[in-house]
């Protein structure tokens, strides 16, 4: 059993009149128990052309239903460039340059794919999956 932790920190000194400083740490465990997630696809890096509309990054058919975790980062530096993230053909949101996301993924159906659509040519995405095997 592996021990993997994810820590998020949200910080701002001027968004509110009081300082925002939120930190949360989660240990990545399998569904319904305290066993650490033991599988990963490793940290990947992919250059995508705009012609790759609805590129399937993670195929719901390829993973069992579980408490998987997904990390995505737009490694571009142009503020106007983004990746659109879709899950089960529903738009979740857009990752602009430098943005990252971390969320659970159940892969609860063959159609529950995570798709990525770059807004421009030659954009680089970093990604990682932690797998509930």
């Amino acid at each position: 059993m592996a021990t993997t932790t994810a820590t998020i920190t949200l910080a701002s000194t001027d968004l509110l009149s009081d300082e925002l400083s939120l930190a949360t740490t989660a240990t990545l465990t399998a569904a319904g128990n305290s066993t650490g997630l033991a599988g990963t696809g490793g940290l990947g890096r992919k250059r995508l052309a705009s012609g790759h509309a609805q590129y399937i990054l993670f195929d719901g058919d390829a993973y069992a239903n579980g408490a998987h975790k997904i990390y995505l980062k737009n490694a571009d530096t142009d503020a106007a460039k983004f990746f659109t993230i879709e899950i089960n053909s529903e738009q979740m949101g857009k990752l602009y340059a430098g943005d990252w996301a971390f969320f659970p993924w159940e892969a609860n159906a063959d159609t529950n794919d995570i798709k990525i659509d770059p807004s421009a040519d030659d954009m680089i995405l970093e990604y990682m999956i932690f797998i509930d095997e």
């Binding site: 000194t13 465990t29 529903e90």
Partner: protein, 151 residues
């Protein structure tokens, strides 16, 4: 303009034969710009005692696309300590995943019109797995907020 940052650190000494130590930090900007996001819902702390779906950002006006294309960031944390307790997180009725005890998510939210035609405008909903009471916290940092007119 406010400066708000979101940072993540992923670490493990034994998931791989090489240590995992990944860090990323981004500043939250309005869509396609380098102007900082300047609005937030604040951090909500909620104790939910039913397993029914909850629309966690109910200020979104049905029939309005005021939020579409804007930049919004969503944080949700399941503060339960019982490893069997989870919340199902959906967007427009489609399951993203389950947040088990202690888990959090951080995701962009386009608030685009539902692709399945039920006019949900990308609602993010949360359904606790038990009705015996579970604690959650969530917040949104965003641009563009349109509140319903009082009736």
């Amino acid at each position: 303009m406010a400066t708000t940052t979101a940072a993540i650190t992923l670490t493990s000494a034994d998931l791989l034969t090489d240590a995992l130590s990944l860090s990323a930090t981004n500043t939250l900007y309005k869509a396609g710009t380098t102007v900082g996001l300047d609005q937030t819902t604040g951090i909500t702390k909620a104790y939910l005692t039913a397993t029914t779906n909850v629309d966690i950002f109910p200020t979104l006006i049905e029939g309005s696309m005021a939020f579409a294309g804007k930049s919004s960031w969503v944080y949700i944390c399941n503060e339960s300590t019982d490893e069997t307790e989870y919340a199902i997180i959906t967007i427009s009725g489609n399951v993203i995943g389950k947040l088990y005890a202690g888990d959090f998510l951080w995701m962009p939210w386009s608030q685009s019109e539902d692709g399945h035609g039920n006019n949900r405008h990308g609602d993010i909903e949360l359904a606790p797995s038990v009705a015996t009471g579970m604690w959650f916290s969530w917040c949104m940092v965003n641009e563009g907020t349109e509140y319903p007119t009082a009736v």
